[in-house]
């Protein structure tokens, strides 16, 4: 029974990298550098997943986010290349409101987490291996959501192709 209040130096390092690169993603002027920092941030989140004994999720994170989504972002930035120049301002007039709202949100959420004590802590032992268990669950208990999400992916793929192709006129 532990609430995991002891975290190692790896956690501090990873969270430092995540927060710094996440801040870079939302604040840098050059949108292309933002995408590169997004890659770094998502990669560090994969490290956090490994610390939390979610090896499959870490691999999926690297494959899908770093390998697909971030590359997709970089492609889109390159295709809209005259939007990435330094002369164009990347932020709108809501910066003050945005800082206010997000800081308030962060502080209140952290206070809420700190005050909450109704969680019953329990250490799971994933002796069979997380990936094996996840695969079995996907094929038994979560069969319907699994199929639905594959239909969703197919629909998203067709939709993206239909939206992005050239009009024949």
């Amino acid at each position: 029974m532990t609430d995991g209040s002891q975290v190692g130096v790896i956690f501090w390092f990873l969270s430092f990298v995540i927060l710094i690169s996440g801040f870079m993603v939302v604040s840098l002027k050059n949108i292309f550098y933002c995408a590169l920092f997004l890659v770094l941030c998502l990669f560090s989140v994969a490290g956090i997943f490994i610390l939390l004994e979610a090896e499959f999720l870490a691999a999926a994170q690297v494959l899908i986010y770093v390998g697909a989504v971030a590359i997709l972002m970089i492609f889109a930035i390159m295709l809209t290349t005259d939007m990435a120049s330094k002369e164009i301002t990347q932020t709108n007039e809501n910066v003050t409101v945005g800082v206010f709202v997000s800081v308030i949100f962060a502080i209140s959420t952290i206070l809420l987490i700190d005050k909450t004590s109704v969680w019953r802590y329990q250490d799971h032992d994933f002796s069979e291996g997380v990936t094996v268990t996840l695969g079995k669950l996907l094929m038994t208990k979560f069969m319907l959501p699994f199929e639905l999400v594959s239909v969703l992916l197919l629909a998203a793929m067709i939709g993206a192709i239909v939206l992005a192709r050239k009009e024949r006129s």
Partner: protein
């Protein structure tokens, strides 16, 4: 556990700030990815430390990742379509689409 949840909350707030302040639509989509990741860290943390059915949190995190990938594909397709029509993807112009 507190540390992980706090990290997720701060990451979510950074993404929220990006969504509120970005003028470039691709920047907004990237900030959305940050918010998704904050939520996913929460799911995995609760899965590890709090009593649940086995691996429910990680299962949900997988679905979050899949839906985020679909959202990114559709979102960027829409962005490219808008760029092709207007040669501009700033959010200021989207008011034109109101009727």
């Amino acid at each position: 556990m507190f540390h992980y949840l706090a990290l997720a909350a701060i990451l979510f707030s950074i993404g929220l700030f990006g969504v509120l302040t970005r003028r470039n639509t691709i920047g907004i989509l990237m900030s959305l990815e940050l918010m998704f990741n904050g939520a996913t860290i929460n799911f995995v943390t609760f899965n590890k430390y709090v009593v649940t059915d086995a691996l429910l949190g990680q299962m949900f995190a997988i679905f979050v990742i899949v839906v985020a990938a679909a959202e990114a594909a559709i979102g960027l397709a829409i962005v490219l379509l808008i760029y092709r029509n207007w040669r501009c993807i700033k959010t200021d112009n989207y008011g034109v689409m109101k009727w």
